[in-house]
Symmetry: C2
Subunit: 475 residues, 2 copies
C-alpha cells in the first residue's frame, strides 16, 4: 500500500468498506485529478529538477455531512464515523511503520495522559504569570522550561521561555526578539536554513542576507565575513543552525562568534540558534561544540515532537529575560504580559514533554542519541556498500543519499527530497530492523530502475562532495 494516509484510506475503503463512501463521508478519488505533480521529478534540460508537488487533497477528503433527523435513533451516523476512524487508524499504523524521512520520533506511549483529553487546557499568555483561566498546565510548562534552561546553562532568574507550537514559532520568536533589540539589524542566515527563517524576514520586513554554505551544509564563515563587511553600518542578527533541515549540518557557533568579533560587531549582534532537531541531541554528543548561554547567544529553539516525540507538533523556546522585559514594555496596553507569538497555547504539549523528560532524564536521552548516531552510521555504510552515494555529517543522524528514481518509492518511505538528494533522519523509532527492511527494498527496486542500461544514477557530487558520490564518474 503506497502513498499517503488519504490514499491509503481510499484503498482500504475500496477493498471492503464501501460504507465510507456510500454514506457520503468520503468521495471517490479521481487519480488523474488528484495528481498535482509539477514536472516529472526528472532532471530537465537546464540540469535542475522541477519541484514534485504532493497530491491534491480536495478530491479525497472526508466531507462533513449534515446529520439526518433520525440519525440519533438509527445510530447509523455513529457507526459510519466509527468506521471512518477505524480505517484511518489502520492507515496511520501503516504510514507510521514506513516513515523514515522526517525527524519525528514516532515511538511514544502517552496512555497515562489519556485521562486529560477531556479538558480544554490552555496556557494563554505568559507561562510565568497565571491568567484567570484556571484550566491550564503552567506548573508543568515551567518545570519543562527549567529543565531546558539548565541544559543550555541559563540561570533560573535570567531566562524566559515558553512551549511553542512548533520549530517555526521558535524561529519567528527568536528573530523577532533580535529585531526588537536591533530594529535596524540585518538578518544573516545560511542558504540551507529552514524556510521559516526567510519567512520571518518577509513578515517582519527585515533586510535579509543569505550566506553561502560548505558542502557539509554548514555556514561558510569566509562568505559570512565578506557579507558582514559590506554592511558594517548595521547590527547583525544571525540565525545559527544546530542541524540544518536537509543535511543535518551544525553551524560552527564559535566560528560565527569569532567572525562577528573580528569584523567589528563586538556588541552589535544577536544570535538565534535554530536547534529544531539537533538542539536536544547535541548536548549529548561528546565532540560537539557546546550550545550554551555562557556564549553570547540570545535565544535557542528546539522542537518537542522531533527527538522527544509527541502526538502533535510543539517546541521549546528559551531566551534571556532581559530581552523579554524590553519587549514587553512595548505592550503596556495589555492587561497581562504578552510576549509570545501565539495567544492561546496548547496546554497538553507541556504535559507530554514533562512526562517524557521525567521518564527518560538526561541519561535516557544520552543513550538514545548514541543509538541514533550508531544506526545512522550503519545506514550510511550499508548504502555505500550497495554502491549508493551517501553522506553523514559527523555530528548528525541525518543520512543524505542519492534520490530514489521512483516517486512512489519516495512516498512509500516518506523521504524528504531536494534536487538529486533524499535523506533519512535516524530517530529513536528507527531501528536496525526498519533500516534493513528499507535497504533491502531500495537495493532491489534500484536494480530495476537502472536495468535498461540507458538511465544512470544521478551524480550527487555537487551536493555531498566527490568523496561521497558513487555515480559512474566518481565511484
Amino acid at each position: 500500500m503506497v502513498g499517503s494516509v488519504g490514499n491509503g484510506l481510499v484503498d482500504l475503503g475500496a477493498a471492503g468498506a464501501g460504507a465510507v463512501t456510500v454514506n457520503g463521508f468520503g468521495k471517490a478519488p479521481n487519480p488523474e485529478a488528484a495528481a498535482v505533480v509539477e514536472g516529472k521529478g526528472e532532471e530537465t534540460g537546464n540540469g535542475r529538477r522541477e519541484i514534485v508537488m504532493g497530491r491534491n487533497v480536495h478530491t479525497s477528503c472526508f466531507a462533513v455531512k449534515e446529520p439526518d433527523a433520525d440519525d440519533e435513533e438509527t445510530g447509523e451516523r455513529e457507526a459510519t464515523m466509527a468506521s471512518v476512524l477505524a480505517l484511518y487508524r489502520r492507515s496511520l499504523v501503516e504510514r507510521t511503520k514506513h516513515h523514515l524521512g522526517y525527524p519525528y520520533n514516532l515511538d511514544f506511549d502517552y496512555g497515562a495522559l489519556a485521562q486529560l483529553q477531556h479538558f480544554s487546557i490552555n496556557n494563554l499568555g505568559d507561562p510565568f504569570i497565571e491568567s484567570n483561566y484556571g484550566v491550564h498546565s503552567r506548573q508543568f510548562e515551567v518545570g519543562v522550561l527549567d529543565w531546558f534552561a539548565r541544559l543550555w546553562e541559563l540561570e533560573k532568574e535570567e531566562y524566559w521561555g515558553y512551549i511553542t507550537n512548533c520549530g517555526t514559532e521558535g524561529n519567528l520568536h527568536g528573530i523577532l526578539v533580535g529585531r526588537e533589540v536591533f530594529p535596524d539589524g540585518i538578518l544573516y542566515a545560511s542558504r540551507e536554513s529552514h524556510y521559516s527563517v526567510f519567512k520571518a524576514a518577509r513578515m517582519y520586513r527585515m533586510e535579509c542576507v543569505k550566506v553561502d554554505t560548505l558542502i557539509s551544509g554548514e555556514i561558510d564563515c569566509a562568505d559570512f565575513q565578506r557579507k558582514l563587511l559590506q554592511n558594517r553600518d548595521k547590527p547583525a542578527i544571525i540565525n545559527v543552525n544546530i542541524g540544518t533541515t536537509v543535511k543535518g549540518a551544525v553551524d560552527d557557533l564559535d566560528s560565527v562568534i569569532k567572525t562577528l568579533e573580528e569584523s567589528g560587531f563586538e556588541d552589535r549582534f544577536y544570535i538565534h540558534c535554530d536547534g529544531a532537531l539537533f538542539g536536544l541531541m547535541i548536548p549529548f554528543v561528546k565532540k560537539a561544540p557546546k550550545v550554551t548561554f555562557k556564549k553570547p547567544i540570545g535565544s535557542v529553539s528546539v522542537s518537542g515532537h522531533k527527538f522527544v516525540g509527541c502526538p502533535m507538533p510543539c517546541g521549546v523556546q528559551i531566551t534571556r529575560l532581559e530581552h523579554i522585559n524590553a519587549l514587553s514594555r512595548n505592550v503596556e496596553y495589555l492587561a497581562s504580559r504578552d510576549a509570545t507569538i501565539m495567544g492561546s497555547r496548547n496546554g497538553h504539549a507541556p504535559i507530554f514533554l514533562w512526562y517524557t523528560l521525567n521518564r527518560k532524564g538526561y541519561r535516557g536521552f544520552q543513550k538514545e542519541v548514541q543509538k541514533c548516531l550508531r544506526n545512522a552510521h550503519y545506514l550510511k555504510d550499508r548504502l555505500k556498500e550497495a554502491g549508493i552515494g551517501a553522506m553523514l555529517n559527523e555530528l548528525s543522524s541525518t543520512v543524505v543519499f542519492e534520490r530514489p528514481k521512483d516517486e512512489e518509492f519516495v512516498r512509500r518511505w516518506q523521504l524528504a527530497c531536494e534536487g538529486n538528494i533524499a535523506h533519512v533522519v535516524v530517530m529513536p523509532s528507527v531501528t536496525i530492523d526498519k533500516l534493513d527492511y528499507f535497504l533491502n527494498e531500495l537495493v532491489e527496486k534500484r536494480a530495476t530502475w537502472y536495468q535498461d542500461g540507458i538511465s544512470h544514477p544521478p551524480c550527487i557530487a555537487r551536493d555531498v562532495g566527490m568523496d561521497n558520490c558513487l555515480c559512474g564518474l566518481h565511484k
Copy 2:
C-alpha cells in the same frame, strides 16, 4: 478551593498527598513570593485601576527530576508521576466546574478519538497539497474547511484556508494577507479589538490607526470615516470584530463597507473579520448582519476551541484563493507551498473539529446558539434584579457586569476583567444550574463586600452606559 490549578494542586497535596512534594516533583509554595499583584485591584487616585497580574508560577511548578538508577526496578517514579497526574486531573475537574469567564465550551467528549493519540499527526505545509510526510489528517482538515467555506459562502474553487493553532494565528494570517495585497496599507482597528491585532501591526511594521468605539463596544463609523479621510493616500486594511473580546460587540460590517466606499476607498481596502468567538455563532442568529464572502471581505477567522470545544486551542482561517496565489509566488524557493504562519501543524485538531461538526451539524449548532443566547439573557436579568449593573449586546452571549470586589472570587470563577467590569461568556457548557450557583454565591458575597456602608459598588456607566449601570448615582 479557590485559585488556579497550580494552587489547587498544592492545596490537595498538602491535604493528603505529601508524596508529591516529598519526591521533589513539586515545590512547597511560598504564597508571598508567588503573588505578583501589581497594585491592589482597587481604584487609584487617577480613577484608573492598576492591572492585577496573576501569580508567579515559578514557585509552584513541577520540577523535572533526573531518574535514579534503580527507578525502573522500584517503580517509585512511575507511582509518583501517576499521583501527580491524578491530583492534577482532580483539580482540572474542579477548575472546569467553576469556569465562566472565557469563551471556551468545556463540554465535549472525544473518547472515540483517544485511539489516535499514539500517532504523531502533522499537517505540515499546505492543507490542499500533500507533503511526503504520510502521518497527516489533511483529508479531515479539508472536509472541515469546506464546511466553513460553505458557511461563509465562498465557492470551493475560490477559497483557501487552514486549521490554525488559535484565534491569534488567524488574525496574524488575515492581516498579513492584507498587507501583502496592499504593502503600504494602513491597518485600522477599533480600540476594543483583540490584542493580537495590534501585535500584528508591530510584528509586520505596519502603520496602525485605532478607531473609537461606541458604548456597546462596536466600532464608531463616524470616527472611522474621520480617520480614513486623514489618510486618503494610502489603502486601508481593516480588522472587523465579529464579537469583541470583552463586550462581545459585533462591528457593523455593512456600515464599515459603506464608510469605506463613501470615503473614496472603493477598491483600495482589505477587510479581515476576526470572528474568534462569534464567527461561528452569528450565522445562527436570525437578526444578525451576515458575514459572507458575497460582501467584499478578504478573510474570516474563528477559533475552534471556543464555541465548538476542543482539548487544545485551534482555529479556522478562510480566505480567497487569489490572495494566497499572490502570496505564494513570493516563496518560490520552497519545494512546497508555504502560505501558513506556522510550519508543522497539529493534525489532531482537524479531527476533533470534523468529529463535532459531523455530530452536531448546522442544526445542532443553531440549537446551541439559541440556548446560549437564552441563558445569557437569564443571567443579565437575574444580575439586574439583584441590583448589579449589567449589559448584554443584542447579538452576543457575553454578559458584562460590575467587577466583583474580591479578587479571590474573580479567580474562583475565572472571570475576565477589565477596569471596573467583568464578564461571563455563556457557552454551551454554561447551564442555568451553573449560573444559579454562581449568582447565589455572588449575591451572598457581595452583601459582605459592601456591608460596612463605606465602600460602594463602582459606577460602570462609562463602560456599559447609564441605562445599564446600577450604582448609587444611576439606579
